[in-house]
Symmetry: C2
Subunit: 293 residues, 2 copies
Amino acid sequence: MRNPIVAYIAGAMAGFVFGCLFRFDTYLAKDRGGDSNGGGTANQRLIYVVTPTYARPQQKAELTRLSYALRLAGNIHWVLVEDSAKPTEMVSSLVKQSGIPFTLLNVETPPEYKLRTRDPSWLKPRGVLQRNAALHFLREKTSPEDDSVVYFADDDNTYDVRLFEEMRLTKKASVWPVGLVGGLMVERPIVIDGRIKRFNAVFRPDRTYPIDMAAFAVSLKLLKNHPDAVFSLNVPRGHQETHFLTKLLSRVSELEPRADNCTKVLVWHTRTENTDLKLEKRLAMPSNQGIEV
Amino acid sequence: MRNPIVAYIAGAMAGFVFGCLFRFDTYLAKDRGGDSNGGGTANQRLIYVVTPTYARPQQKAELTRLSYALRLAGNIHWVLVEDSAKPTEMVSSLVKQSGIPFTLLNVETPPEYKLRTRDPSWLKPRGVLQRNAALHFLREKTSPEDDSVVYFADDDNTYDVRLFEEMRLTKKASVWPVGLVGGLMVERPIVIDGRIKRFNAVFRPDRTYPIDMAAFAVSLKLLKNHPDAVFSLNVPRGHQETHFLTKLLSRVSELEPRADNCTKVLVWHTRTENTDLKLEKRLAMPSNQGIEV
């Protein structure tokens, strides 16, 4: 390397590469979220977030705000399952635009199992076939080495992005409190000396796992080791979680308490009111003619 | 530069600088939102987002998901105004943790103007004194050169981050559709040849500005030029917007239509159900004893 021009070019190349590497580190530091409030990196353990969803006036709004929590949460794969005979244009374009890696599935609930508009929301099980479609996808289409976490996130709940950091620690099954559910401000496991001793649930406290769908996450490997763990159209109200978890675990003490020994609320069972559309009939044509809402 | 070592070092330095500049560009590209779906930069025009908020079981959940939209929206200053005699610990720590630049204010609504739990939400005006406190702050505490935009964002609505890009274009006052409000799927101005000709509102269509609080943004300079534009505890239901806008504008045609001539829905008037807490009384102590929900 006697020629100064060659030396200069070689130096420039080395410098450029170093400059680029320097950039790479900075990205990671930024992505790790200096505000201790979420922000993801590709080094984070992956979470498959399973969201059953169905058509209703507020659907796009709900999926929009859920997508923002997932964008900020970091390394997520969003498994969206529509309750429909075929994928809808709205959900397809929303999930693509979100920038979140995703799988879009659909399966229609048979009419006899579907809620009618005026039925109370608890009358029939919801999201059963959709969650099962996601379970089938996760068991069949992921690699045997995939060490990810699986979480069932309904589209109307509210998620603190720090919840996702908690569930990334899951060995077999994690559990944490849920706010605004079961007739209580917070429904949660009671932890003594780092082990779950009981639950504070008042609604059907006789259930083995008296917790909400939003209260737990499981490892993908555990799911694959127990292929019979699925949801059912034929279990009583509030028993889906117990029906599912009893296939995966042999006792309550196997649940791993998260969120400071189940003392922090990082997810809320918020429910959005059905939209009052009574004035639509006074219009000559629908207000949303040609407009996606 | 005869010495190859000197040449190499010079080249390395030049390459390093170029590598760093390359990074800088990439950051900007990333921050500008390569996914066309939000993501902010400091070069964006600032928006003061005014949010009146009051204590209720779902308050923290609502503020949490609103904060995520604002984090993704880019250059925002969040003016949160609590309906309380003093700032609350929950809201203070939430807004600090959000990482969003903020101003936290508080003013209590007198009891005779406050809704009781079982009152319908429209019975009394809401957020009036809180929005006025924010207006006072904006008029008194910002610089005369401040060319920002002001938007009133209630804590229960749902915001698409692209809405904030629309409002950054505001000259005097911008307007756009709102989903799920006024008894309709979408309430909106009807635009013909780029000008607003009328509104599709069915609820009190006789109002000069028959639009929701979420439907418009105004420039800070316009606010300062009309110091008498405030909200009032003594106007009929649904008339706050008209009461306020008639002080700022002389005619409807001054409103600047955004969101593709008011054909895109980027904000939804979602309402969260009041939480059913009837089972709390069966517990010896509150479920949230010592726990922030």
